[in-house]
């Protein structure tokens, strides 16, 4: 009987630890989410308001060619950022794995530094680097390599650069963590069994890194789906993403219901991406 009491006590305590954050999430996530769902099916005006739910805003999203195009653009942007993070992040994580503790810490600080600086400062700095009069264009022109400034800003390229810069850490850190769990002796085994360095990398290192890579790529993708300020500053009106449309609906057009419906759609797409990546990760690791 004493054992049962002890077990009961044990099972009660963790729930107490959970309570503060659970309250926070309930008040500031679940309740607003419920309100968002309600708003998305509430007609904006008319006598039937609050009595009858409507799916018209969802239908509008699906039938309006523009919103679907913007969703596709947003997905494309997220894919490009994820891809560029993978391309830049893999070599970096591999290097960190082999580096000494001091070098490793220095790289980590550099990778995380964008998260520690203000988004405005960061973006203005990028304007100075990538703009028509920025150091890259003036430098290349001074060297005589180009005649006219390259279009580095106010297009998808500029936004990808800006977003990759901030979110690279979300890919590098989980990837690095999963690389450190690979037994170096497994790679040595591959070598002694006759695998060249390239084949060792492909068959062992790369094949064992998906848990971290998938987790990191998912984080970057999902975060990019919701990114707002960087596309606004570095893409101006030339790059439109779904979060920009939703913000515009609320701030300028006061279309709360439509904005809510679009937000729910964005949420569902992100949820779908996460579910797919979870499934992919299980497939890759078993």
């Amino acid at each position: 009987m004493a054992g049962a009491t002890l077990a009961e006590e044990r099972s009660r305590r963790p729930w107490l630890l959970l309570a503060p954050s659970a309250l926070l999430y309930a008040a500031f996530l679940l309740v607003p989410l419920a309100l968002l769902v309600v708003a998305s099916v509430t007609p904006a005006e008319g006598p039937g308001r609050l009595q009858a739910a409507t799916g018209e805003y969802y239908a509008a999203f699906a039938t309006d060619g523009i919103t679907l195009t913007i969703l596709l653009h947003t997905l494309r942007l997220a894919s490009l950022v994820t891809l560029s993070c993978l391309v830049l992040g893999y070599p970096l994580a591999l290097f960190m794995r082999r580096a000494g503790p001091k070098t490793r810490l220095a790289i980590m600080l550099v990778v995380v530094s964008p998260l520690l600086s203000s988004v405005i400062v960061r973006n203005v700095a990028w304007l100075l680097v990538l703009g028509r009069e920025g150091i890259i264009n003036t430098g290349l022109q001074a060297l005589g390599l180009i005649d006219a400034p390259l279009p580095l800003l106010y297009n998808t390229f500029g936004v990808v650069v800006g977003v990759t810069h901030v979110y690279l850490s979300f890919l590098v850190l989980p990837l690095f963590a999963s690389l450190t769990t690979i037994n170096p002796a497994a790679e040595e085994s591959a070598a002694i069994l006759g695998a060249s360095p390239l084949r060792t990398f492909l068959y062992v290192t790369l094949s064992l890194s998906p848990p971290g890579a998938v987790a990191g790529a998912t984080l970057v993708f999902v975060l990019t789906m919701g990114v707002y300020l960087t596309p606004v500053i570095m893409g101006e009106s030339f790059v439109t993403t779904l979060p920009m449309v939703i913000t515009d609906l609320v701030r300028n057009q006061f279309e709360w219901s439509r904005a809510s419906a679009f937000a729910i759609v964005l949420l569902l797409v992100v949820g779908g991406v996460m579910a797919a990546s979870g499934w992919a990760e299980r497939r890759l690791t078993t």
Binding site: N183, S189, A191, I192, L193, G194, Y203
Partner: protein, 372 residues
């Protein structure tokens, strides 16, 4: 053996890591079909030597030849060597069959032949039924056998084993050691084993190389290493606890060894060439020392060499270990290990006076300890 090309020929090997001299002037061979062990405490350079053979570490100087070909500068994947790591290092994302097939795939062996050879290798380690399992579904002992099959299936010129039994518990370890020995004899595969385990090394090796601070103190057959260690370090590492400093005196045609600081002298009759220099130690293995209780202060038996008093008694199951303080000097102790067969009535008790007996042939002289 004679003129046959050795599986491994290491000549004049040195390795420096910065200021640290990890391996010094090492020369040794692994002949075709034999197991040679590198034995020594951690940090003695044995693992560095193994990794130089594998190609993961480049020697600072010296020549390594595998199957007659000099391999200095040849990367690991172009040496035809099998290696088993202490952690086994199986590929966790590949099945047992895929793990074993890996080396053959890298060598572009035809698929049908790979299948046959993988099955054969797994049968040899008695794991044919686990071909589709994944490493994490196997016990430690099974993983070890998969690692062995994976190393053997490529029919390497030499098999390198890095502390292969270190991670297993005692019973399993002994079982797998016997299995490994059987397999090695059956396949006639030249093997270099690195270990710090004295029991394992005696069981498995044809020859043992004892390493100490980067040097090789002795390379010889197990009996030789155990009975006639070449240095004090080898004697101590092989559990030879009775090592006495002293000097040799002549007494009527017989050499007598007088232990420093004690009135007792050990008679030396047939112990071979003996260093006369001061400080040359002698060793007597504890198993060769017997004790006779001196209860009624009687006359000593003929074999008695010294007398003393039991200060410590440790029951070890198959034997009992006694520590005896020698008469004349309490500082000097001799250890005796007596098999558990002796009738309990005759066994010396704690604090009892005893006669210490051993054959003078049990006395082995060591060279004057060279200061390394």
């Amino acid at each position: 053996m004679g003129t046959e090309t050795p599986a491994v020929n290491a000549a004049g090997i040195n390795k420096h890591f910065g200021a640290f001299h990890a391996v010094r002037d090492l020369d040794f061979q692994v002949r075709k079909g034999e197991i040679v062990s590198l034995l020594g405490p951690s940090g003695c350079g044995k693992t560095t030597m193994l990794r130089m053979l594998a190609g993961f570490v480049t020697p600072t100087s010296g020549t390594i030849a595998i199957a007659g070909k000099v391999v200095n500068g040849v990367p690991p994947h172009r040496r035809h060597v099998g290696m088993m790591f202490q952690s086994y290092a199986l590929f966790p994302h590949m099945s047992v069959g895929e793990n074993v097939a890996f080396g053959l795939r890298m060598r572009s062996v035809p698929k049908a032949e790979i299948k046959l050879r993988v099955e054969e290798a797994l049968r040899a380690v008695r794991l044919a039924d686990r071909i589709d399992s994944y490493p994490r579904q196997l016990s430690g002992g099974q993983q070890q056998r998969v690692a062995l099959a994976r190393a053997l299936v490529i029919k390497p010129d030499v098999l390198l084993l890095d502390e292969p039994f270190g991670a297993l518990d005692r019973e399993l370890r002994q079982h797998l050691q016997a299995e490994m020995k059987r397999l090695q004899r059956q396949l006639g595969i030249s093997t270099l084993l690195v270990t710090h385990d004295q029991e394992e090394v005696l069981l498995l090796s044809d020859r043992i190389a004892v390493m100490h601070k980067g040097r090789m103190d002795q390379i010889a057959a197990p009996e030789e290493i155990f009975e006639r260690p070449a240095t004090r370090f080898v004697a101590e590492f092989m559990g030879g606890t009775n090592i006495f400093e002293g000097r040799v005196e002549q007494q009527g045609g017989t050499g007598l060894f007088r232990i420093a600081g004690s009135g007792d002298a050990i008679g030396l009759l047939a112990c071979g060439p003996f260093s006369q220099a001061a400080g040359a130690p002698v060793m007597i293995r504890p198993e060769r020392v017997t004790l006779v209780a001196n209860r009624d202060r009687g006359t000593p038996p003929a074999a008695a060499i010294m007398s003393g008093r039991v200060t410590e008694m440790n029951y070890l199951g198959s034997s009992t270990e006694y520590r005896v303080a020698l008469d004349g000097d309490d500082e000097v102790e001799i250890v005796s290990r007596i098999p558990g067969l002796q009738a309990s009535g005759e066994r010396p008790r704690l604090d009892e006076p005893v006669f210490v007996c051993f054959d003078s042939a049990a006395v082995h002289s060591l060279p004057v300890s060279s200061q390394l």
